[in-house]
Symmetry: D2
Subunit: 374 residues, 4 copies
């Protein structure tokens, strides 16, 4: 049995819960060559991090991330904090020679992201950014079809990520609506996923025209505090984009679309076929192929739960669907295998930086009212 | 220009409106070799039949169907009355050597249906039953795929026709709920369509186990008359069926399925593929083919609006959908062509008789609580 | 019986067929107060216009539109030619005091469109632009819901019109790909519909950032002529838009989306609900309402075939769907009623001009690479 | 911290994997009052059960189930073996005073099922049958809506469970196709789920007319053995059913429906609404309510991922879907809570017996060709 990979996870909120689950599930379902050992969970509040560690199955709880990333017995530092802490932790972890996994968006600014890339490159450590949607079986299938030329030359990308949780003007001013902590709003939080998928599936974006909008400019303070505060991030963003390979596209992210709970959707049109996806039905991929005989040509609803589909054979028989958190298990599996091989997996900090540059260009374009090169 | 075919239509209610439209539209869109001439519309009430004739474009109105079917200048008698008049009119029309089109179900009993078959056979006239759903492009496509062996040996048929217009117990006791006029309820009205499609797509049914149910046994009298009357037909029917070719199936018809407005649906499973259809989306056919490559195999949504799909090139470019009444235009076109060729088209009175026998077997089985041979 | 409205239709291709059908169907189904009389069909080629007139039911055929629009016995001139003739014919018809219906886009330039508006205003005639999708029952329902405040303040519009008929690079260089005749490509042909629906449903657009793309720059000459020619219009266009009322949106049109045959789709998000539509399923509207109880809240699939839905009671019972051409029947009905009332219906030439200004702004922005005011 | 519940799981194949996962996940996600302790996994083959125990996180492996169920330190015996062992193990476990969870179908015969019920009743132990689909959030929501009277009096149930894994005649003769081990084929394996859901959602079934079919009567022997053997179970079954409360229904199960991977579907029509479900999209429920206002009435697609939906708040934010195995986590949670409370949860062995009686009646009716009372 190969030595386990000792993990320290920083952050125990939504993403901390999802990452913890991935470490717990990856061995029983996917049998990585080097298994993860859930060593230490780190967070700010002693009592809460202890409770979380116990609940999620971590051996220890800690409150000082600097101590944790310096520990000799830690191999992998997993950063699941708000964006304003990403750079500092990642750079310190790299300095200590740790493999680093970081939640998206990589940082709250391009400068920070660049510093992180420099740090992991200099340290020569394994690094990865957690864009878990790259490891949905249906999404990997989309990429395989594109790479195999099944839809020809790509011409159009149409990506939206629609949610509705702040549609009501009385939804409070939580940290995700504060630029200092979150960096940006819908754009960085969910638009980042669309940008990443666009790059994964189509190619590099080199020019954008963007617009950011804050529909509700003031909101009640959170946690029952009296009064209202100013929203400092975008509620919604939209952009036209041009890809290096000649394709064109639209990218949109909003938290103001009632009824769309998690509608990370894309459609890609190539010269000989099309592909469409919706995260709310993540086990399915819609595929249209010009090459098929005309009488029965039409969009297929591919239920990507067959053993030949990516990652699926680790789970259940055909038609037994998987859920949201499985995408993290796949991500962690690929990271563990990369660490075992001492190679940098994809997407990594370089992708995170490039994504950040695209997001910055969209934000910049929204101000200048012109197309901006990335 | 070939001589026109002079038409007399008996009945001007729902079906009369649909048939009138078909005669009006068939020439501009489908150019039959012999065009129909809308000669006379016949109905019981003078003032109303005159108004309808004017509205729908008939040259004359008449109230005595016996006179009409005896007219020298009539080539085709089209029967769109309630079922209790079908036999008498059809037999008389055949006796006068007219081509006859009859609405479904062919008659209110097997004996009547048999007499109608005998009459048209003896007279040697062209005859057809109006099962218009056999001429939906997507349905004809289904048949073509089956005949080409694309889904292999058929094993399962699953047919339902669901409506909801009498779900409320205060819906009044209209003529369709009266056995004397309508013959039967959901079974004969809409179940007849499912039986006909089953025979068209799969083959002959030779054994059934059926059940009829009347959930609401009394209803208010119609037209504002005081009091309530007894419902003498079924609200719903269901049956297990076995086909001559070894396939098995379920057939169901109900007017008590809230939200299902016109859900004439079927699914057919063969040894190497499946086909599914829903009348509420009649331009679409779902097709699954085992022969396709595994990565992208899935149900296709075929939008049956391409020029190579049956009947479509008469209408609009791809993606411009057609509606309910177009199925009658296709039916009338095929009838006119058959008359021009002096041949009996399909489905005809023999089909109507066979359908009636299946319906009778279902009703019979519902009483005996046993399987019944057709 | 009121005097009929005598119609002259100029053009007998795709749109000529659709308009002819509308005049033929409007009386039997919708009973306008003043019925249309299909007086004369006008086209360039004598033999073909005669054949078309006979086929579609016009009393006469003619080849000189100037003579036709000057005829005393013509009340309504309906223009269904390519765009380069719209202005000249419409202005002449107005000068002769005729009511004018014009296909979209109103003209090939803003200047032409302005001249047309000036002409009809000066002449005081009834005028209408044929944006038939404004009269789909589901689309009118969408507008009614918005006007009733059911989805609150509108924040997002997301409109695409996707087709695929020129995706193959060997599709020939037909007139629609020639700027001189067609004015523009996907933008003017189908993007015009999206712009019109955006204005109908959301409000005026006052700023745009657009991009036009021609993926296939040369194509084989049409009608079997040897050699290739240059495509002078856009294959695809996309734009970000801002509305006067604060909403934002994306508008896209392409003829290069394999499998999308007629995907005129929109989604609208308001503060308290959302609405979505797809022309390939034009009988349906998806509606989400925050006001509903949480347990069952979700997008409704409204089958807009109930008697209380707009225009439906003229056709068939619930669940019996209508098709593409019905939208023209509704349009002609409303035009005939407006003529009877001597009032200008909506959308009219003012809408056509405004639409044209938006299209021009998108095209302009595509050149300047900046946001452009409309 | 309350004492843990020590679990012994018998069987480590498909169901063993699913149950193991449930014990592993229930604590981190659902915090039962008494946590499960994964004490011992039991199977026939020493090396394989040891590997499985390690992989799935069990403390010990064992090969003699009799020893295991007699152990003092075991509180709960979970039976996930083929059906021919259920009765023996369950009875022995009850005799030793253990709580018992048993996979479905409860047994291979009504007699065995009755003996199991007698045993658990006599021993006074907690018992449960693992019909995990009763704990899909959307399915529980369906039941809540029915209980609240939202769809009125139930009239129709339409349940199918369609799979396709033995559609090809060369699929080998695995144990599930052998009556001695499996008891029955599609009927007992997946039809049992439909029967259970029908009883859960509608009520008791008291009369059936059934038909069983074996389309492929001989198949290659498994594991590469030469020759072919006889299939001794049904490939497909179908039945008409009548419920005690007056509703009627159809129940169908087949493994011969190409493209249907796991189509456990039902539709229920009440007097004032309808509900539909499909396991391949298990996060969704379709709901139609007559009570809604007519303009927007239509089937809702309820994404049952909101905190107010059953079980959901343990998992992820809205729109982040769950998968197949989550249904076992919910089941185990409810079992653990019942054990903590010393009460018998639902569904239990009494349900298993009743389900078995319905299945037996269907099989019986298939032989007698008559309706059979349950």
């Amino acid at each position: 049995m190969a030595a386990p990979i000792n993990v320290a996870l920083i952050g125990y909120a939504f993403m901390g819960k999802a990452h913890s689950n991935a470490y717990r599930q990856v061995t029983p379902f996917m049998s990585p060559r080097r298994e993860p050992r859930m060593k230490v969970l780190c967070g700010r509040t002693q009592s809460r991090v202890q409770a979380a560690a116990r609940q999620y199955g971590w051996e220890e709880a800690a409150t000082d991330w600097r101590e944790v990333v310096a520990r000799k017995d830690i191999d992998l530092v997993d950063i699941a904090t708000p964006g304003d802490l990403h750079a500092e932790i990642a750079i310190e972890a790299a300095r200590h020679g740790k493999a680093v996994l970081c939640e998206k968006p990589l940082a709250n600014s391009v400068a920070e992201a660049q510093a992180m890339v420099d740090a992991v490159d200099a340290a020569g450590v394994v690094h990865m950014i957690c864009h878990n949607y790259r490891r949905i079986p249906a999404v990997v299938l989309a990429r395989q079809l594109i790479e195999a030329g099944r839809i020809g030359t790509i011409r159009h990308f149409r990506g939206t990520y629609l949610q509705d949780w702040i549609a009501h003007p009385d939804f409070p001013l939580v940290w995700r609506l504060d630029k200092a902590q979150a960096g940006s709003g819908a754009l960085g939080d969910i638009g980042a996923h669309v940008v990443d998928l666009a790059r994964y599936l189509v190619g590099e974006i080199n020019e954008v025209s963007g617009h950011l909008e804050t529909f509700v400019k003031e909101r009640p303070l959170p946690d029952g505090k009296p009064g209202r505060g100013t929203v400092t991030v975008d509620d919604a963003s939209m952009a036209l984009v041009r890809f290096e390979n000649g394709a064109i596209g639209t990218i949109e992210a909003t938290r103001m679309a009632p009824g769309r709970k998690n509608a990370n959707r894309f459609e890609i049109n190539g010269s000989t076929g099309s592909i469409a996806f919706d995260l709310e039905r993540l086990n399915e991929l819609e595929v249209y192929l010009e090459a098929e005989d005309a009488a029965v040509r039409g969009f297929h609803r591919v239920l990507a739960t067959e053993p030949q589909h990516p990652f699926v054979k680790s789970w259940w028989p055909p038609g037994h669907i998987i859920g949201y958190e499985h995408t993290f298990v796949h991500t962690i599996y690929d990271l563990l295998e990369a660490i075992a091989d001492k190679r940098v997996p994809s997407p990594n900090f370089h992708d995170g930086l490039r994504n950040q540059q695209v997001l910055a260009a969209i934000e910049n374009s929204s101000t200048t009212r012109q197309w901006v090169s990335v």
